[in-house]
């Protein structure tokens, strides 16, 4: 069942391995030598051993491998470095995971447009869970108030300042739909974004060059760009992080909904589904015939947004 996708992924990564330039290796070696040299200079200059450590870690981080080409040891090492850097730079004790996907799991999502009442608790929970930029007001999830008969969220209104729900309106949420045939992945020139075997489309923030081709390619407005360094108050930072998920992003990289990879791989619901007070959000394993999401697909009226594009989103809308 999974072999097809795995093979496909394998081919992609193999191609990357072939291209792996010795230049990178060379630069890495050079950098370590340079780091050692400059570190000794710094030590001689101002004696800040913490500063030296931070700089050394940053050198190592800068010349690390693409996440999919890393061995498990390298993945563990980068996560350790990032945890230490978070401590040195921000003074926070992050627990960063690099948990791999579960076998025989393909995540899927369903959204009940006849139950959603526009309370927007999901949006708020997502912002807190995923350490989203408070200054630029980045949101992965958006809710729009819609007139009956319209199914195009561009025609909806997201800035309603009145009590909800309103009679004769319905509410439609949009976010990344984690397409099986995702245009954003094809658009990325550096292969910094890919689909994991459990169906989650992720970004390696350290590999993204910020060209925003993926943002232009996505027909669902699912991707966000960091125009500045994201600002999150120190006491509000979620310390349970994942390398591919809610770890702190930096200026000039793309980010997006990851189905809360740091939660879902631990068996938890995504923050939006957990926060919804109306039960409009159904999440589960598409490969399990006994899951809730499969019940919805089998027994309810479902549709996918812009299905004719052939992007195969794993996000269904349904109604009672």
């Amino acid at each position: 069942m999974d072999s097809r996708t795995n093979n496909e992924d394998q081919i992609e990564t193999e191609g990357m391995a072939d291209n792996k330039s010795s230049r990178r290796q060379f630069l890495k070696k050079m950098s370590i030598a340079a780091a050692a040299g400059s570190a000794s200079l710094v030590v001689g200059g101002c004696g800040g051993s913490l500063k030296t450590e931070e700089m050394g870690l940053k050198w190592e981080e800068y010349f690390k491998e693409h996440y999919r080409l890393m061995t498990q040891e390298e993945k563990d090492a980068t996560v350790k470095r990032l945890e230490r850097l978070a401590k040195l730079e921000r003074g926070i004790d992050v627990q960063m995971s690099n948990q791999e996907p579960h076998e025989q799991v393909l995540y899927g999502y369903a959204f009940n447009i006849s139950r959603c009442k526009g309370y927007m608790d999901c949006v708020e929970a997502c912002v807190k869970e995923n350490n989203l930029d408070r200054r630029a007001k980045t949101q992965y999830v958006r809710i729009f108030e819609m007139d009956p008969g319209k199914l195009d969220p561009t025609a909806g209104d997201g800035q309603f300042f009145h009590e909800v729900p309103v009679d004769n309106k319905f509410y439609m949420g949009v976010q990344c739909f984690h397409c099986e045939n995702a245009p954003c992945i094809k658009a990325c020139p550096t292969k910094a974004t890919w689909r994991e075997p459990d169906g989650i489309v992720v970004v390696d923030y350290d590999w993204c060059i910020g060209c925003r081709y993926c943002l232009a390619a996505c027909p669902y407005w699912g991707r966000r760009f960091n125009w500045g360094d994201p600002e999150v108050p120190k006491e509000e930072i979620n310390l349970n992080q994942h390398y591919l998920g809610n770890r702190m992003r930096m200026k000039g990289v793309m980010e997006k909904c990851t189905f809360c990879v740091q939660r879902t791989r631990k068996g938890k619901l995504p923050a939006c589904a957990d926060a919804c007070p109306t039960g409009s959000r159904v999440f589960g394993n598409l490969l399990d015939p006994n899951s809730e999401i499969r019940f919805v697909l089998k027994n309810k009226k479902v549709f996918r947004f812009k299905e004719d594009l052939g992007t195969e989103p794993k996000f269904w809308y349904f109604m009672d």
């Binding site: 608790d121 879902t264 006994n290 009672d320």
Partner: protein, 209 residues
Amino acid sequence: MNKIPYGVGVFFVALAAVVLVDQSAVASGAAGAESVTDRINHATEPYDSMRVSTAYELSVKTVQSKEQYQGGDFKVLARKDQISRFRCSVCHNDKPVLIQNGALFTHGDVKLNHGLGNNQLTCNECHSMGNRDFLVDKEGQKIDFDHSYQLCGKCHFRQKRDWLGGAHGKREAYWAGERVVRNCTSCHNPHSPAFATKMPATYSLPLDE
């Protein structure tokens, strides 16, 4: 002249057939990659989500459901310990009540708004007259407060069917591990079950911003 022996001819035909079949298999494999819906429909093997070892037991109180979910057992959030004045028979017994406590005991805080228009339900449509510690259905069956879905489902049978399957209501915290779902009364106030209007928590920017 140049007669090809029969055996060799058969061999070539067979080889050609093998090559053709092989090519067509490759072609279909490359062109018709399985869509995600096909992949979902072909997945018929149940997934044992207890394998996700980090999905551990919840701290909230639950009870084993008296009904089945897709052929399996599941749990619902307990209700009785959420009712502040349970057990009801502490007051509802044969002993007299002091008149000073009357106001407190009359359930004046309960706003009943259950039913359409003038067809409002009254207390004893759901609460048992004979035994106040239980609910009662129209057939006179006693129903435990923890299993109120059995009573709600008598009228709202479509919602109950969806709730059993997972299209109505919600799971508690985990998609994996033991299935724990919210009771009807965990989300709906049984005396006034429609969700109240309230101000949204935040707002969303337009899609192109």
